[in-house]
Amino acid sequence: MIPEAASAPQPILFVELRFVWIFALIFLVHWSLRSNAARKLWLLVCSHVFYGCFFVGDPIEFGTNLFAGRLDRLPTGWWFPSLLWLSTVMDYSVGLGIERARTASARKRWISTSLIVNLGVLGFFKYFGFFEQNVRAVVAWLGLTPSWEPLYVFLPYGISFYTFQSLSYSIDVYRGRLRAERSFLDLALFIAFFPQVVAGPIVRASTFLPQTATRVAWAKVDLRGCLVLFLVGFFKKACVADTLARVSDLYFAAPEHYDAFSAWAATLCYAGQIYCDFSGYTDMAIAVAGLLGYELCLNFDFPYLSRSVAEFWHRWHISLSSWLRDYLYIPLGGNRGSRLFTARNLMLTMLLGGLWHGAAWTFVAWGGMHGLALVVHRAWARRTADRPAIRRVMARLGLPLTLLWVLLAWVPFRANDVYIDRMEPSDRGARRLHRTSAGFEDATDHALVYPYEDTSAPGLAANPDTPPVALDPATGLWHGTAEDGSDVTIRLHQSGFAVTGTVWQAMSWLGREGSERVCRDAIALVLALLAFVHALNARGVFRTVWQRLPDPAFYALLGVGWGIAVTLVAVGYTPFIYFQF
C-alpha cells in the first residue's frame, strides 16, 4: 500500500469560501469586544493563526505531531511563523533602543542591528538559492565540477512585505520621524495584521500606528464601500486574473510554438492578469481591514492609463514604489547631484526593486528596463521643458508609448526558465516545467510534479504522483524514477532570457515564430471589453451609482454581483502572484 500523504499547508486565500466563515468569526468577535486593547489582542492572535495556516497544514495533525515530538512529520517551513515574531521583537527592541540611546553611534548600532538582521533573514531565504545557482554556473563555466550538494531553501510567504514594513518603522524612528512605539501589542499588530501581512500593501508605521492608538468605531466603517470593494477585488482576482492566466501560462510554457498574435495576446493577458491579481488582492485587503475599522493605503491608481513611466510608478504598487523612494532612492542621494548621479540612483533603485520581486536575473532586467525608462524620461522632460509644441504631441503619445514599454518589460518579468522532463532532441510531448523552491511544477497548471529528493515535506515525497528528483552536480541534470519505474531526467530547455528573446522577436514580427495560436481571436474582444470597463471606472462612472441606491436595492444588486462572480470564478484557484514575492 502506498502511504497516504500528510496534509500539506493550506494558505487561506481571500477568494475561498472558508475565508468568509473565518472572517465572519473574526469580525463578530472583534466588534463584540468592548475594550480596544482586547480587540487588538484578538486581531493579533487571528493574524498569527492566519499566517501560521500558510505553513502548518492540518492544525490537528500538526499539533499532534508537534506535541509527540515527531518533527520529521511536520511540513517544511512549519517554524517560519517564528520569523515574524523575530522581526517584531527585534524591531520593537530596536525602536526603544534608538530612542533611549544617548549617542549617535549607539543609535547607529541599533539601526545597523535592524538592517543586518532583517535584510540578512530576507537575503538568506530569498536569495541564497539564487546565489548558489549562480556560483554553480560560474564554477561549471570555468570547467570545474561543483562538488557540493544544493541546499534547497523554501521562501516564507510574505517575508518581503513584512520585512520592509518593520524596517520602515525602525528607520523612521532612527530618523526621528516617528516616536518609538511603547506598546508591543500595537507594533506586533502593525507588522502581522492579517489583511496585508502576506502580500501588502506595505503599510507605514506612521499610517497604521496612530490608528491603533484610538478606539476603532463601527460608526466610522464605510460598510457599503468595503463590501463593494471586496466584491470588485474578488472579481478581479478570481474571475479576470485567473481566466487571463490560462492564456498567458499556456503561451509562456512554450512560446516558440506560437505566432505573433499569440505573443501580443499572451503579453496583454499577463499585463491584465498581474494587475487584476495584485490590485484585486489589495482591494480585498483594504476592504477586510476597513470592515475591522482600519484604513490601509491605496496601492494602485489605474497605472495602465499613465502618460509616462514616472507616472506609472506613482500609480503602480504605490506602497512599494514610495518605500523604495523614501528608504533607498533618497538615502542614495536622490536627485541631489549631477545628472549622472541621479541616473545612477534611479537605476540602482529600480534594479534592486526588480530583485525584490524575485531572485532571478529576469526580474533585475525588468527593473533595469524601468530604470532606463525613468532616466530617459527625466532627460526628455528636461530637454522639452521649454518646447510646448513637442510636449503637446508627447502628451498624446505618452499613454501608448508608456503602455508599450510596460508591456515589453512584463515579458522578462513573466519569463521563467523552462525545463522539460525528456532528453530527446524533440521536445514535443515533454512536460513543460518551472523550478520553484519545492521542486518542479507544471508550467501550465502550477501543480508540483517533481519535488526535490531531500525535501522534508512528507506530503510531497510520499505522493506517488510526485516522484522526487535529485540534482547530478556533474551534469547539472535532475534524475529520478517515476512510479512506473521509468527514468525521469529534467533539463533546462530555455532560460528566462531565451524565452524573453523568443517573445520579443515574435512581438516584433522579425524573428522566427511558431505557427500555432495560443487562443482564439475572441481574446481581443475580451481584452477590449476589460480595457473599456477599466477606462470607465477611471472616470468614476461606477463610483456613484451604487452609493445612491436605497438599502434593499443595493444589497439585492450586491447579491446579483456575487451570483455572477461565482459563475465566472476559476474553480481550481491559482495562488496570488505576489505571494511568491
Binding site: 490537528i60 492564456v247 495560443v518 475572441a522 446579483v560 451570483g563 455572477i564 461565482v566
Partner: protein
C-alpha cells in the same frame, strides 16, 4: 431588523442569479464518467447485467468473457461495465441513479461492488470536477450520516468529540463542493475559456461494453510483493468472517437496493478479491444472502496468487479473465437459486 432585511435582499439576489446560472449553464463533462453514462444510455436494449464499482470492477470484469461464460452455463447474459477508477460510495450511488434513469429498459441484475463510504478527500482529487459533480443533497446526507454515525464505541465521550472534530472540516469541504454544484460555480468561466481556448479535451474513449484493461505494468515490485504477502497473511488469519461496517455505509447499500428494485432489477453484491483493502460485508442478513464474496483467499486461492497480480490491489489480465469467469458462474447460480 435592517441587518436582516439587507441580508435577505443579498441572499435573494444571489440565489436568483445562481439558480438561473445553474439551470441554464451546462456542467462540464467529467472524464470517463460522462462518457460511460452516455455509452450506457445509448447501448442496445440487450443489457442484462450492469456492473458498478471502482477499478476493481472497471479493470477486472471483462464483459466479453462474462457473456461467453454465462452462455456456456446455459443462461446467456450481456454485461455492461459501469465501473470507474476510484469510484466509491456515495459517488457510485449517484452514478447508478443516473444510469438507471437513462434507459427505458432496466437491466435484470445490477452487480454492486461492496465498499465503505469514502469520506476522506484524497489530495489528488481536491478541486477536480470528478470530486464535485456527484455532490447533491442525497450524497451530502450520506456523508453527514457517515460523519455523525457512532464509531465502534472506543474512546468514550472524548473519543467521540475528537472524531467529530476531525470529521467536521472534511464535511465542511464536502459542503463547499455541494454549494459549488448548486450555484454553478465556474460554469461561466468554463464557457468563456471554451470560447477562448477551444473545448478542453475530455477522456471519452472507452472500450466495448464499458471495459478497458488497465495500463500495462510488469507485475509486483519486490517491495509491493512483501506488502502484498503481509496483507494476504493478515486476511487469511482473519478467515472468511471478518466483517466490518458502519451504519452509514450499510444504509448506502440499502439505498442502492431500493433504487435498483424500484426499476424492477435485482441487486447482487460483490466483495472483490483485494487483500489490501479492509473487507466489508453487509450486516443485514438479506443483503448478505445476495453477496458474492471473493474476499476469502482460502476459497479462491487462484485469485490471490502473486503471479496473477498487476499491483497489490488489482489482478493482471489473466487474473481478471479468471475472476470474470468465476463471477459469471456465481451470478448464474444466484439467478438459478432465485429466479
Amino acid at each position: 431588523m435592517t441587518l436582516l432585511r439587507n441580508a435577505l435582499c443579498l441572499a435573494i439576489g444571489f440565489v436568483v442569479v445562481a439558480s438561473a446560472a445553474g439551470r441554464w449553464m451546462p456542467a462540464r463533462p467529467v472524464a470517463i464518467v460522462s462518457a460511460k453514462l452516455s455509452r450506457y444510455a445509448r447501448a442496445g436494449p440487450s443489457i442484462d447485467v450492469l456492473a458498478i464499482g471502482s477499478s476493481l470492477t472497471y479493470r477486472q470484469i471483462v464483459p466479453r468473457i462474462f457473456d461467453e461464460t454465462t452462455r456456456e452455463a446455459g443462461r446467456p447474459l450481456h454485461l455492461f461495465n459501469l465501473g470507474i477508477d476510484g469510484m466509491r460510495p456515495p459517488e457510485d450511488t449517484f452514478v447508478l441513479e443516473r444510469a438507471l434513469a437513462s434507459r427505458v429498459k432496466p437491466p435484470e441484475v445490477v452487480l454492486v461492488e461492496v465498499e465503505r463510504i469514502r469520506f476522506r478527500i484524497r489530495p489528488q482529487d481536491v478541486g477536480t470536477d470528478r470530486l464535485r459533480y456527484w455532490h447533491d443533497a442525497r450524497r451530502m446526507a450520506s456523508l453527514a450520516r457517515f460523519a455523525l454515525a457512532s464509531a465502534p464505541g472506543d474512546g468514550g465521550l472524548w473519543g467521540e468529540a475528537r472524531r467529530l472534530g476531525e470529521a467536521t472540516p472534511t464535511l465542511a469541504r464536502h459542503l463547499v463542493y455541494w454549494v459549488q454544484n448548486r450555484t454553478a460555480v465556474g460554469r461561466g468561466q468554463d464557457a468563456l475559456l471554451e470560447a477562448l481556448l477551444g473545448p478542453e479535451p475530455v477522456a471519452d474513449e472507452i472500450g466495448v461494453d464499458g471495459y478497458d484493461p488497465p495500463p500495462p505494468r510488469a507485475g509486483l515490485t519486490p517491495r509491493e510483493l512483501d506488502a502484498y504477502r503481509a496483507a494476504l497473511a493478515r486476511r487469511s488469519a482473519g478467515g472468511a468472517t471478518a466483517p466490518f461496517g458502519d451504519a452509514a455505509s450499510q444504509a448506502e447499500l440499502e439505498q442502492k437496493r431500493r433504487i435498483i428494485e424500484r426499476v424492477g432489477a435485482r441487486m447482487l453484491l460483490i466483495v472483490p478479491p483485494d487483500p489490501m483493502a479492509r473487507r466489508f460485508l453487509p450486516k443485514d442478513a438479506a443483503l448478505r444472502a445476495e453477496t458474492i464474496d471473493f474476499g476469502d483467499p482460502s476459497a479462491y486461492p487462484a485469485l490471490y496468487a502473486p503471479a496473477r497480480r498487476r499491483d497489490p490491489s488489482h489482478l493482471d489480465e489473466a487474473g481478471a479473465a479468471l475472476y470474470t469467469r468465476l463471477l459469471a458462474r456465481r451470478v448464474v447460480e444466484k439467478l438459478a437459486s432465485r429466479p
